[in-house]
């Protein structure tokens, strides 16, 4: 019998053998089920979003404004559900389906802020609002800034005098 773990080997070898044992034993997450949930719930949130966009377009907003208004509505709903303690319950199943839409961004801001209430409004809520969502803003803004800069340096020149 080949030993899967040999305690008489040097530590580095033991580590390698042990991590192989762990990898053999540890199950993958239920990928198919997770994907189905993510696709279904994520799709539904976007469909609902489309419904709200269409409504705002119906009352005369441009697509861009309607999409912005929709973001505000979705962020409000996500903040509300997070406050009620329901968002994480749903996301346990929906996974990326509730993480990736703008609602997930809102949840990432509200969740740490709620808990930090006990540490006060300034050092608690104020400081922790961006604890989880901060990186999204940082990388989004930096990438956008770089895009704008590249456009400014190498993009088509605006006509003179405009």
């Amino acid at each position: 019998m080949v030993r899967q773990f040999d305690p008489s080997q040097p530590l580095e070898m033991q580590k390698r053998q042990y991590q192989q044992m762990v990898n053999r034993l540890v199950p993958r997450p239920p990928v198919w089920r997770n994907c189905l949930w993510a696709f279904g719930v994520g799709g539904l949130i976007c469909t609902a979003g489309q419904g709200i966009v269409s409504f705002f377009q119906g009352v005369g907003l441009s697509f861009l404004d309607a999409a912005t208004a929709t973001s505000i509505v979705l962020v409000f709903l996500a903040a509300f559900l997070t406050g009620l303690g329901l968002y994480d319950e749903l996301a346990r199943y929906a996974g990326a389906g509730m993480l990736v839409p703008i609602t997930g961004f809102a949840n990432a801001m509200v969740a740490p802020a709620l808990e930090a209430r006990t540490e006060g409004l300034v050092l608690g809520v104020g400081a922790r609002l961006f604890a989880v969502a901060g990186p999204i803003l940082v990388f989004g803004i930096v990438t956008a800034w770089l895009s704008g800069l590249i456009y400014y340096l190498f993009g088509p020149r605006p006509p003179l005098g405009s």
Partner: protein, 118 residues
């Protein structure tokens, strides 16, 4: 039809993100996936590839975080076109200001009104 396209495209973006989380090492956390999506959205947008997706799928492309990246990048690029270097700095956040402000304001008031259940 618009709704079906929103469902399929939005769902597909979420599915991709789920695969990223489930099939990669534990070192790829949800935060990494979200940062990846917003960055990807911004880059695709800058390359002119995201706007067609928005035309096709509407909210299916604007609601996921890639759409947030798109919004930021378009803002910065349009700002650059309109106002030059100043617009590069102003455009991105300005275009996404409504969503960010909503999250801050609603987050703040939610923290005042609700007590987390744990």
């Amino acid at each position: 039809m618009l709704f079906l396209k929103a469902f399929l495209v939005g769902g597909f973006i979420c599915l991709l993100a789920q695969l990223l989380m489930d099939l990669t090492s534990h070192k790829v956390t949800p935060a990494h996936v979200l940062v990846g999506l917003v960055t990807t959205g911004a880059v695709l947008s800058a390359l002119g590839l995201y706007e067609p997706l928005v035309k096709f799928a509407g909210a299916g492309a604007t609601v996921p975080l890639t759409g947030f990246g798109h919004l930021l990048a378009q803002g910065a690029i349009k700002g650059a076109a309109r106002e030059g270097l100043l617009g590069v700095f102003r455009g991105g956040v300005a275009s996404a200001a409504a969503g960010i402000t909503a999250a801050v304001v609603f987050g703040y008031f939610a923290a005042l009104l609700f007590r987390p259940k744990g």
